[in-house]
Structure formats: structure tokens, C-alpha cells
């Protein structure tokens, strides 16, 4: 795995807000089909790093490469079309749509569709192949029964699954999942972990997972990258990094390190 070309490569990435260094000199790779956990205490810079990768923030230093191509200067929507999918720490859904409409939007956005003349000629009805794809993804994520339900009527757990399904509808090569289990109960978290594993295995989608539930991270990821105070602390398998005294110190303070 280590010798294969990296799907996503971060090289000395840095980002500041005013005088605060949110991310400083962070470098790591994610390979095709790999599942990587990005962990660290609150304020470590994980979500800022996600925002830099997706183009919602511009990194001030360093370079982010996707399939060997620099993402510098590319707007968010173009990065998404390259194959970078994302879910959000604070659920971001389209409140007036049904679940399947969310996926249809994602499916077409990936292809850059949206010609006005097609709409005006009434040529924008969902195609059979699109509906099949949507049905398959909803079944994969386990919310097939909710296809025609308005997201306004869903609970947080289902909304997180809708976000995940929507991101998968864009057929990403890498999925950036930002605290997907936040607000879920223990059973929903276990189900979510299974879904992420299935997505990685069956669809070959690489996963970069930011998560505070370390048990879930251990279940899902092949290896982990640990950040603290904006800097990269260590990398390795999940068990290796959890045994690292520096990581224990970052999470638990002096007592944890001891």
C-alpha cells in the first residue's frame, strides 16, 4: 500500500486565522481504497484541514495533491467533481427535499449537469439509471425505506445517513467524513461503522475519518493520523498510535502519559 501512488497527498499544509495557527506543516498521504482515521483532541485542526482539502478554505502554505494533481486554485465544486466527497460535522442538508432528491442532486452535480434549456424543454426528469443508482446507495446505507420522505421529518441519525448517502451518490474516490457519529446513540454508531466499512470494501472508496469515538475509529480505519494543536503528532496503525505516550498526553494530559 505504501508504495502505491497516493490518492490524496498533503505536503506541509498550513493555515492560520489571524494570529492563530490552526494547521501547521501537516503532511500525510491517503492511498486508493484506504481508510485513514484523522484523530486528535478538540482544536487540533482536523476540520480546518478538511476545509482546506475541499477548498472551503485556502491553505496558506504547502500543497494538496489529488491523484498527483495540485488542487491549488481549484474551487470547491471542481474538487468535488474530481472525486472528493464530504460529510459535515454540523449536518448540512437541504431542508425542502426528500431523501432521494438529495441523491439526485449529488448524482447530477458530479457530472456538472444543470443546463437551463434542458429544464425548459422538460428533459430533466430522473433517468432509470439514476433512480437505480440512488436505490442502490440508499439500500447500501440502509435507508431505502425513507427514499420519498422529506428530510424535515427525519431524526439526526437518519440525517447523517442521508448526508453519507448523498456524498456517495457523487461517486467519490475519497470520502471525508467529519464526526459522522456525533449525536448518534451506540447502536446507530455501530451501524454507521459497518456502513463505512462496506463502502470502503465494496466500492473501493478511500475514507478519511475524523471522529472522537475512538472505538469506532478502531473498527473502521486501516491506520490513523494524530493531530494536536494544528500539528501532526504521529501516524501508524490504530493500536500503535493509541499506545503512543504523546497521543495519550494530548488526549488525557500528564496522567494519561504516565
Amino acid at each position: 500500500m505504501a508504495d502505491a501512488p497516493a490518492l490524496l497527498s498533503l505536503r506541509h499544509v498550513a493555515k492560520s486565522f489571524g494570529g492563530v495557527r490552526a494547521v501547521h506543516d501537516v503532511s500525510f498521504d491517503v492511498h486508493d481504497g484506504e481508510s485513514v482515521g484523522l484523530v486528535g483532541p478538540n482544536g487540533a485542526g482536523k476540520t480546518t484541514l478538511f476545509n482546506c482539502v475541499c477548498g472551503q478554505l485556502r491553505n496558506e502554505e504547502g500543497e494538496i495533491l489529488f491523484e498527483g494533481r495540485s488542487l491549488d486554485g481549484l474551487p470547491t465544486f471542481k474538487r468535488a467533481r474530481l472525486g472528493i466527497g464530504r460529510t459535515y460535522q454540523k449536518v448540512e442538508i437541504f431542508t425542502d427535499m426528500t431523501v432521494s432528491e438529495h441523491l439526485l442532486v449529488a448524482e447530477r452535480a458530479r457530472r456538472g449537469e444543470g443546463r437551463l434549456w434542458k429544464d425548459l424543454l422538460n428533459m430533466s426528469a430522473p433517468l432509470r439509471v439514476e433512480l437505480d443508482n440512488i436505490e442502490a446507495i440508499l439500500d447500501l446505507v440502509g435507508i431505502g425505506a425513507l427514499a420519498d420522505t422529506s428530510v424535515n421529518a427525519l431524526g439526526l441519525g437518519h440525517c447523517r445517513l442521508v448526508e453519507l448517502a448523498r456524498a456517495l451518490a457523487g461517486q467519490p474516490k475519497i470520502l471525508l467524513a467529519d464526526e459522522p457519529s456525533s449525536g448518534l446513540d451506540i447502536h446507530e454508531t455501530a451501524e454507521l461503522a459497518k456502513v463505512l466499512r462496506t463502502v470502503q470494501r465494496e466500492r473501493g472508496t478511500a475514507i478519511l475519518l475524523v471522529e472522537h469515538d475512538l472505538a469506532m475509529v478502531g473498527e473502521v480505519v486501516d491506520r490513523a493520523v494524530v493531530m494536536d494543536l494544528g500539528s501532526l503528532l504521529t501516524t501508524g496503525t490504530f493500536d500503535e498510535v493509541m499506545a503512543n505516550p504523546e497521543v495519550r498526553h494530548a488526549y488525557l494530559g500528564q496522567m494519561g502519559a504516565a
Binding site: 465544486f77 427535499m97 452535480a109 449537469e113 430533466s124 424535515n152 427525519l154 439526526l156
Partner: protein, 669 residues
């Protein structure tokens, strides 16, 4: 230097009044999170009452000042807070803006309804020890009279007192906390309702004060004069990022001084004097919106408790049972057929004219459904874009002899082009920032292009000739031909909006309205979507403007001024901004209610009462963001479902079927 000061000094009193309003805007925004568009109207109301008392009732200045500014204005502010803004969640920036606009539009009309049309000419001063008719001394050839001195004195006292209040008192600290979240500071034991109420009373007092001071400086005045006051104050407050009292004050005084200085230096015959000078406050505002990054995120909710707010309720069409849906659709077709037959056979001419006007106006209003209802972009210049279409087609008819309907297509294209420029200028602006930018554009057009005799025909307007339409049928007394024209045009516009809504672009717009972050993260090009929706809405508004012009047989700048853009928003919001039928009901409803009110005596017969009715009806937007008519439709539909289907099927539901609050589960409400 003396020459310069002679021009600059007269601008200081104007700058002072701008500063008082600007600081009032800052205070309200800081304490309540509301950008109060109604300040200009509150200022006008206070000036109106002050002038009526001094001019008609022959009171002296000071007691009139006490009644109009010290008593009435704070009470109005407290009423705004108690009955309206208190009920709007911090996160609902659209409702806050729209309610402010309703008051901005409704208050001047309400004053006319209550007091009747008045010739307003304020000459009294508010401070008894300054005589308005006495020139106390001359400074660089500028006579310093009682009005000048009282304006400066009052401004300095008020601004020093307010700065001290905000910076050095615990009340000021609580006000700054309340803007983040009223509910959160309540948890800390602060009486946030009281704090916010004081902020409203104080800022409204300042609005009244500015109104009376400005009226004294103006002499004869009318409500439109206060729009310049408002824009100058908004521009100043914007440069202070709605936070800094000193910067807002400085910029406000600077606008006043620069205006009078340029007036002094520029030749009165130059284009700069007639076109650029009146637009100075708008240029200052646009510059602030374009340059200052802080203006891009003005309406981002900072309330940590915003997640407990419920999501907007569904539309009537989305919440009714399938059987009821089928029934209503059939009923609509029957009503439409009956309406068409009636219009072509028995309806009296007076009412035919009213309905034709309503149909033409509905086309303009559909552009608001598209851009605001579907895309969530609050544009305050759709009336202006309609005017662009109207004047373009009229000018093409005059100069090239082009049929107005053909010219209307060119006009629609030009309106779309103007809208595209606006969209590109405001790419980074959202919510309040976009509303301000489009309002500035509307005011700029009013003061420049629409003011030019060569374009709009000046105060006389451009009277249409039947030959411009190829046939006199559209001018005929029976109005049948015009009805058919309006129906065809409106049907086409409705078809366009419906096709877009159910197509990919419509879904992308809905996604953009739901979450721009997520929409861009999926691969949707937000810039393209915004440009497309601005252009399409501009084109529809432009062609609608041509229809209204044909119906009125005249193209007049007064019909398309910024005030009408705001009234249009108020109309559509009242009936339902998210639905196509909302726009049609607003357009026809406006003309029908106007026609009905002609049967009332005296001053109630004009358009003032209609505007008051719609403006105060639209205030329900605070409680029913889907539109008060839409809310009533949903309730009555569900009641009918129970009656007709006897509680079977999907009809057995809550009369107010708001879905479970999504935001309660952590989504961005």
C-alpha cells in the same frame, strides 16, 4: 480654503442626522441582530407628527419634539420589539429583513391614512434656546442659525451618551451579549427582553430625533426624502461593519460634507451634478459591500441556541393528502375556465381593468418567486428591472418604431443583463448584504437613469401610442385583447418557473437555498446558479414591466421606483413567496383590493391603505414564513380534508403540521 469650508460646513448638519440614524442602526444591530430598514420610516413618522403639531396645531418646537421624539418614537420601537421582532428567531435573517421592509413601506402610507395627505414644511427647532430664524454668527460665509446649532448640539450629546452607555455600563455589556443570543444570556440571569426593549426604545428615539432634525434642515419634505437619509446612514453603518459607533459617525458626517462640497464645486449643468452626485451615498454603500469582507457574513446566525428553532413549515400543496390534491387541482382548472369566460363576457370594464393589471403585475411578481422563493436570494430591485424592460421597449418604439412586444423581448434581455451584472457584483454577498446591494442598485437607477428625461420622460413619463403595439386592440375599452395578451404572457412565465423548479436547475437552487456549503461540496457551481437565476428573474421582471406599462398605457419612473420594488416583496411575502400561486394571488389581490377600496370615501380610496394592509399583513412573515395566505390555505385544506374524507387516509393530521424540528437534531435551521 475659505471657499472649500464655505461649501463643506453646510454639510455638517446633514452628516449629523445621517450619523444619528447610522448609530441607531448599529445600536439595534448590536443589541438585537436586526438591521432595521424601518428607521427611515420611523424618522419620517416623527418628522410628520412634529410638523403637523408645529405647522397645523401651532405648537412651539420643544413640546412638539417631546411628543414626537421623546414619547412617540420609543413607544413605536417598543411596539416593534414586543409585537414583532421578539418573535423572530435569531437565525431567521430573511424574516428580520422582510419585516423591516414591511414597516419601511407601511409606515409612511399609514401616516397618510391617519392624517391624510399633508404639505409638510418644518421650520421649528427642537431646542427652545436656539431660534431657527436667527443667524447667530457667520463662519466662512456660512450662516450659522438656530437649526444648525441645535442639530450639532443634539448630535454630539446623543452620540457621547450612547458611546458611554455601550462602553462603560453593564447595560451596554448586556446589550452586546444579547445580540449573540437572547436565550443564552437569559440563562446567565440577564433580563434579555428588557435589555433588547431598551435598545429598541433608544434606537427608535434616535430615529425620531434624526427625522425631526432633518425635517428642520429640509424645510418642505416628503417621505422619499428620507430614503437618501436611510441610504447614507446604511452606508456609514456598513463602513463601521455595523459595530463601530465612531467609524459610522465619521463616515456619516463625511458623506454630508462631501455631498455639499461637490454640490458647490461641480457645475450644475454637468452630468456629475445630475447623475453622480445624487448617487454618492449609494456608491459609498456599494464600495463598503464590495470591499469589506465583514459585510459578507453579516447575517450568519451566531446564536448557539439557534438549533432549537423549528424548521419552516411545509406549503399547503406539500402537506395535503393526495385525494385533496387532486380535488384542488381540478377545482383550480374550473375556476380558471370560469374566470376566462367571465373576463371575455360579462365582467364590468372597471373590474376587467383591475384584473388585467393584476395579471400583468403577477408576471413581475413571479420573478420574486423565482429568485427569492426558489433560490433564497433576497433581491430588492425587481421593480427596477421591470422598469428597465418597460423603458427599453418604450424607447425602442419611439426611436426605431419597433413593436413594443418585440421591444419587450429586447427589454427583458437588457433587464437580464443588468441582473447578471448585479449577480456578478454581489457574488460574495448573502442575505442582508445582497439585500443592501440590490437596494442600492434600485436607488441608483431611480436617481440616475430613471431620473433622466431622455430615458423615462421625466415627471410626465412616456405616454404609449396604440401604433407602438401594432394594433389598437390592446388599448380598446373592453380590454379583452389585453386580457388575452396578459394571460398568454403570464402562462408562459408560470410554465418557465414550474419547469425550472422541477428541473435540475431548480433542484440545484433548492440545494443552494438549503446549504451553500453542502451544495458546493457536491459539485454545484454556485456562481453559475446565481447568475442563471438572476438573469432569468430579471428577464421575467423585465417582460412583466412591459405588460404593466401597456396596461397603464404609460411608462413612468414613479411606477418603478425603489419603493415599488419593496412593495412587490411585501406583496409576495404576504401571500406566499415559495409558490407560483402566491405571486398570482399577490398581483391580482393588490389590484382587487385597490379597486374595492375605491368604494370607500376620501383618503382611504388611494393606494395607501392597500399598502398598509399588505405591509401589516406581511408582518405575519415573522410567525408564518410560508406566507399568511399560504398558512391559512394549509389550515383550511386540512379542515376540508377532514370534512370531505371523513378523517380517512392521510387526512387525519395535525391542523398545523410542522414537521419535527430538524434543527433540534443539530442541523442548521
Amino acid at each position: 480654503m475659505e471657499h472649500f469650508l464655505g461649501f463643506a460646513l453646510p454639510g455638517i448638519p446633514y452628516g449629523c442626522t445621517y450619523a444619528i440614524i447610522a448609530v441607531g442602526l448599529v445600536l439595534t444591530y448590536q443589541a438585537t441582530g436586526v438591521f432595521n430598514f424601518a428607521f427611515g420610516s420611523q424618522a419620517f413618522a416623527a418628522a410628520f407628527v412634529f410638523t403637523v403639531l408645529t405647522q397645523n396645531e401651532h405648537w412651539s418646537g420643544f413640546p412638539a419634539f417631546v411628543i414626537s421624539v421623546v414619547v412617540m418614537s420609543p413607544l413605536v420601537g417598543l411596539a416593534f420589539d414586543h409585537f414583532l421582532f421578539r418573535h423572530i428567531p435569531n437565525s431567521n435573517s430573511m424574516a428580520k429583513v422582510v419585516c423591516g421592509l414591511c414597516l419601511f413601506v407601511g409606515i409612511p402610507s399609514l401616516m397618510t391614512v391617519i392624517f391624510g395627505a399633508q404639505n409638510l414644511d418644518a421650520t421649528a427647532t427642537i431646542l427652545p434656546f436656539f431660534n431657527p430664524n436667527v443667524v447667530y454668527f457667520t463662519l466662512f460665509e456660512t450662516p450659522i442659525n438656530g437649526i444648525y446649532l441645535s442639530t450639532i448640539t443634539v448630535t454630539v450629546v446623543v452620540l457621547v451618551a450612547l458611546t458611554a452607555l455601550l462602553r462603560y455600563t453593564s447595560l451596554g455589556l448586556q446589550m452586546r451579549g444579547a445580540v449573540e443570543s437572547r436565550r443564552l444570556v437569559q440563562l446567565d440571569g440577564v433580563n434579555s427582553r428588557g435589555v433588547v426593549a431598551i435598545a429598541w426604545a433608544t434606537s427608535s428615539f434616535m430615529a425620531g430625533l434624526a427625522g425631526v432634525l432633518l425635517a428642520s434642515n429640509y424645510g418642505p419634505f416628503q417621505s422619499n426624502d428620507f430614503s437618501t437619509l436611510m441610504v447614507a446612514a446604511i452606508a456609514a453603518a456598513a463602513w463601521g461593519l455595523l459595530r463601530s459607533v465612531p467609524i459610522a459617525t465619521g463616515v456619516a458626517v463625511l458623506i454630508g460634507v462631501v455631498s455639499t462640497t461637490l454640490q458647490g464645486y461641480l457645475p450644475t449643468s454637468s452630468i456629475f451634478f445630475s447623475a453622480v452626485l445624487p448617487g454618492l451615498p449609494f456608491f459609498v454603500l456599494v464600495a463598503a459591500l464590495l470591499i469589506l469582507p465583514g459585510m459578507r457574513s453579516l447575517d450568519l446566525s451566531r446564536d448557539p441556541l439557534s438549533t432549537i428553532d423549528p424548521p419552516p413549515p411545509p406549503t399547503a400543496a406539500a402537506s395535503r393528502a393526495p385525494q385533496m390534491d387532486r380535488l384542488i387541482r381540478r377545482a383550480w382548472w374550473v375556476v380558471l375556465a370560469l374566470f376566462c369566460v367571465s373576463m371575455l363576457t360579462w365582467i364590468p370594464t372597471t373590474w376587467e381593468v383591475a384584473f388585467n393589471g393584476g395579471l400583468a403585475l403577477s408576471t413581475v411578481l413571479l420573478s420574486i418567486t423565482l429568485i427569492t422563493g426558489m433560490a433564497g436570494q433576497l433581491s430588492l430591485c425587481q421593480g427596477t428591472l421591470a422598469g428597465v424592460g418597460a423603458f427599453t421597449s418604450a424607447q425602442l418604439a419611439i426611436h426605431l418604431g419597433l413593436n413594443m412586444l418585440v421591444g419587450g423581448i429586447v427589454g427583458a434581455a437588457l433587464a437580464a443583463a443588468v441582473a447578471i451584472v448585479l449577480a456578478l457584483l454581489s457574488l460574495r454577498l448573502r442575505g442582508l448584504g445582497l439585500a443592501l446591494m440590490t437596494l442600492a442598485a434600485a436607488l441608483l437607477f431611480d436617481n440616475t437613469f430613471f431620473n433622466a428625461v431622455s430615458i423615462s420622460g421625466g415627471t410626465q413619463g412616456l405616454n404609449l401610442k396604440a401604433s407602438w403595439l401594432g394594433t389598437s386592440a390592446f388599448f380598446n375599452f373592453d380590454g379583452h385583447a389585453l386580457f388575452l395578451l396578459c394571460m398568454v404572457a403570464l402562462s408562459l412565465a408560470v410554465a418557465v418557473v414550474l419547469l425550472v423548479r422541477k428541473g435540475t436547475v431548480g433542484r440545484n437552487l433548492a440545494a443552494m437555498r438549503g446549504s451553500e456549503t453542502a451544495a458546493a461540496g457536491l459539485g454545484i457551481n454556485l456562481t453559475k446558479q446565481r447568475v442563471v437565476v438572476f438573469a432569468l428573474a430579471g428577464a421575467i421582471a423585465g417582460f412583466g414591466g412591459v405588460l404593466v406599462t401597456i396596461q397603464q398605457q404609460q411608462a413612468n419612473a414613479d411606477a418603478w421606483n425603489y419603493n415599488y420594488s419593496l412593495i412587490f416583496i411585501v406583496l409576495v411575502v404576504t401571500t406566499g413567496v415559495a409558490t407560483v400561486e402566491g405571486a398570482i394571488q399577490a398581483g391580482i389581490g393588490f389590484y382587487v383590493v385597490t379597486q374595492l377600496l375605491t368604494y370607500l370615501p376620501g383618503r382611504f380610496g388611494g393606494s395607501s391603505l392597500v399598502i398598509v394592509l399588505f405591509a401589516f399583513g406581511a408582518l405575519q412573515f415573522a410567525r408564518h414564513p410560508e406566507g399568511v395566505l399560504e398558512f391559512q390555505k394549509r389550515r383550511s385544506t386540512l379542515a376540508f380534508e377532514r370534512l370531505l374524507f371523513n378523517g380517512h387516509g392521510e387526512s387525519d393530521r395535525d391542523p398545523d403540521p410542522r414537521p419535527a424540528p430538524l434543527s433540534a437534531w443539530g442541523a442548521d435551521g
